[in-house]
Symmetry: C2
Subunit: 437 residues, 2 copies
């Protein structure tokens, strides 16, 4: 009887708690009320938790995303400009593809206005990595973001307060209420920011495995399909690649170390095969989507040329400079570099990849709570990969650290993360598992 | 890895979200942290919602109750005094048993320090009813509560801030986050207040049916068993009666009307058979528990005598006076009394009893939001009960109101609440269904 002509947040929560679908109006009023503070955090927390249990159908997820987009501004890019395309990764360990891909794709004439994030749980953050470069600003205003993108062709910066403010507020709340891992909430969070950014196309890198919050291939496929679905309903070009994250990507984990590895690849060095492959596959999808190449084979050739010619590297330097960064200054280096040695002989059967990420946090290279300062020099290098043989006493990886006490703890975690057993080697995980359009 | 030696509320929420049992420490730190404001409302809201889905086992429920008791003071009654006993009802429509029972049992020499509540949803509140008496104070301090109980033998007042403050705070939060209907939360809420009150025994009236939040007999039995279990673990004497609330109890619904009905029974008038039966059954359990009667038959005789002799009525007047009430002043009366007539002929098959309660709110006799003032004169009288025949044009009940526009809306709700169909009459619901010890 209370509902006649009234919007009662508690009733909306109750409907979701009871497993019923919400209406567009209910979702919209809840999200917009929450954004402007009319609906308190505790009601949003209860709704988010009920959503963890009952989920949302396709329509509800779209409405949630739309309400979050409409909670703020949507960028209006100049008409008639270059095709505008972004890439988003669901996050992993050692994933520095963005650092390479944004300038590389921009050097092919496609506009890449990339809004990126900080480290989250065991996962590194692109902004944290870039801030290893002296002076680099990851807090551009909306006007600066647009200006750098238009002038340089690419830009990597944090979310601005004008874009999807509902997401900023909801994300902070989900983080402290154990409601991060709900599929529709993840979809709406990622897609609302991207839709507010208003690129013409979006390539998704949806990871699965021990280094992600999506522990099964099925769950990450479901996430990929949901995001592609929402993007298409908005008229965006969408492609998702499902990639493996059961072991660190590339040769380095840790902020400055990852920037160094990305710069090596941008200089045209071959680099780690897995990092190279994932980066080029994502970049090729962007070029094809933009109409800059007729297929991924042609796109791949273009990308290789831009790396070899140094154009991609110059684009990175141009972008860094436009964002206040000084690439001539040396990146921070840790005081100590020492191996973490295996205590057993065998073959690497599996890696608890998230534990490697947590070990970086223990070294001081990531945050236990928002706002903590981090040591950008620390991390790991050349981890043994799944299927590789190892002798007792041989290094599992090299540890860069500034504190022997922390290092001892991190080393124990690394040893714990490696499952080493007798041969045969396990089947190598497939790096790019699925293409979802 | 974050958990080493740390208490992280988000991890506790996550454990419950994932269906795992919490430890005593986790529950205790969460409840005490919440009470003193160190754990914010939104984290408690998320935990409460996760608890709606996964429940709590017997141990967890006990720990939750204990933490809530320990969030405040526990009353120390003088040693060697009379047996101290309380009754608690889970709430219904027209349930004024407390008004009769407290003075009646006290007149038999048993101490009854009753902490009661306000109207909640469609359910009336004992304190709201008593405040129909001019000057009656339902906000006694802890010292006053103890003094009135010791001097008069009984007392009916609201929860004081010293007793189970965690419950006060959690209850307000549950009300606005759709987390009221979780069994362990209900158990802990009721039992923490009662255990802080620290009576020697407790008789529970656990209702089921259309006028309650327990729509099935099974759900209310489960609630009764859980509460009895927790009370016994605290060394309390415990009895629960499961009673029917598929139709209003007694002849009146509405604050002053219910006080009038209670006073009639206290004057020794026979009154409505159902109200009489439930009240005496509960009171008899209290006397037997207190050792004041050897069995319920003997207790029943004692109670009848106290009603006939006027001792119970005098005890009520004494209690009211001790709490500032002036029983000589007339109770508020509504301006209009008019029948709500049936539009059809048949037999009352069922009553949506909560709708009758909501109709009282529409008349102004209850609150839509906490803190609203209410019209204590309005309500309903002599409702047709299940199984009674009715002719089109005959009254379903009499409506007391002060506003024809509200009355029209309430009358429509009453008609809607009655399901009238052709004979035969349905099986009469059994009034006292079960005794749980």
């Amino acid at each position: 009887m209370y509902s006649e002509g009234m919007f009662l947040p508690a009733q909306v929560i109750q409907r979701k708690r009871d497993g019923r679908a919400l209406t567009e109006d209910e979702i919209r009023m809840f999200v917009l009320g929450f954004t402007r503070g009319a609906i308190p955090d505790y009601q949003m927390a209860a709704l988010a938790m009920a959503t963890c249990f009952h989920g949302m159908n396709t329509e509800e997820t779209l409405w949630l995303t739309r309400a979050m987009v409409d909670s703020g501004q949507v960028i209006e890019w100049p008409r008639g400009g270059a095709f505008c395309c972004d890439k988003h990764s669901t996050g992993g360990i050692g994933d520095k593809t963005s650092l390479i891909l944004a300038p590389l794709v921009a050097s092919c004439g496609v506009k890449v206005p990339m809004i990126s994030g900080r480290g989250l749980g065991p996962t590194g953050g692109t902004l944290d990595k870039l801030e290893s470069i002296a002076g680099f600003r990851a807090d551009l205003s909306l006007a600066e973001l647009m200006r750098v993108t238009e002038r340089v062709g690419c830009c990597i910066t944090g979310a601005t307060p004008e874009l999807a403010p509902a997401d900023r507020k909801l994300y902070a709340l989900r983080d402290v209420t154990a409601t991060v891992s709900s599929l529709p909430l993840i979809v709406a969070s990622i897609m609302s920011k991207k839709l507010a950014e208003n690129a013409d196309g979006l390539v998704l890198d949806v990871k699965w495995g021990s280094g992600t919050f999506m522990r099964t291939r099925e769950a990450s496929q479901e996430l990929a399909r949901a995001m592609v679905g929402v993007g298409k309903r908005y008229g965006k070009k969408m492609v998702a690649l499902q990639t493996d994250m059961n072991q660190p990507l590339g040769a380095c984990i840790g902020n400055a170390l990852e920037v160094r590895e990305a710069l090596d690849i941008l200089r045209g060095e071959p680099g780690a095969a897995d990092l190279q492959a994932v980066t080029l596959a994502l970049a090729a999808e962007m070029l094809v989507m933009a109409g800059a190449a007729k297929d991924v084979a042609v796109a791949g050739e273009m990308l290789h040329k831009k790396l070899a010619s140094g154009e991609a590297l110059r684009k990175f330097e141009e972008m860094a400079a436009a964002q206040g960064g000084d690439v001539r200054q040396e990146l921070p280096r840790a005081q100590f570099v020492e191996p973490v040695r295996s205590s057993v002989t065998g073959v690497v059967q599996a890696i608890a990849c998230d534990e490697i990420g947590y070990a970086v946090i223990v070294l001081g290279g990531g945050r236990k709570a928002a706002g903590e300062t981090i040591d950008r020099a620390v991390g790991f290098e050349r981890p043994k990969k799944i299927g590789e043989p190892i002798e007792a006493g041989e290094p599992l990886l090299l540890m860069h650290h500034n504190d022997p006490a922390r290092a001892m703890k991190a080393a124990a975690m690394v040893r714990q993360a490696y499952a080493i057993g007798p041969a045969p080697a396990p089947a190598r995980p497939r790096l790019i598992c699925e293409r979802i359009v």
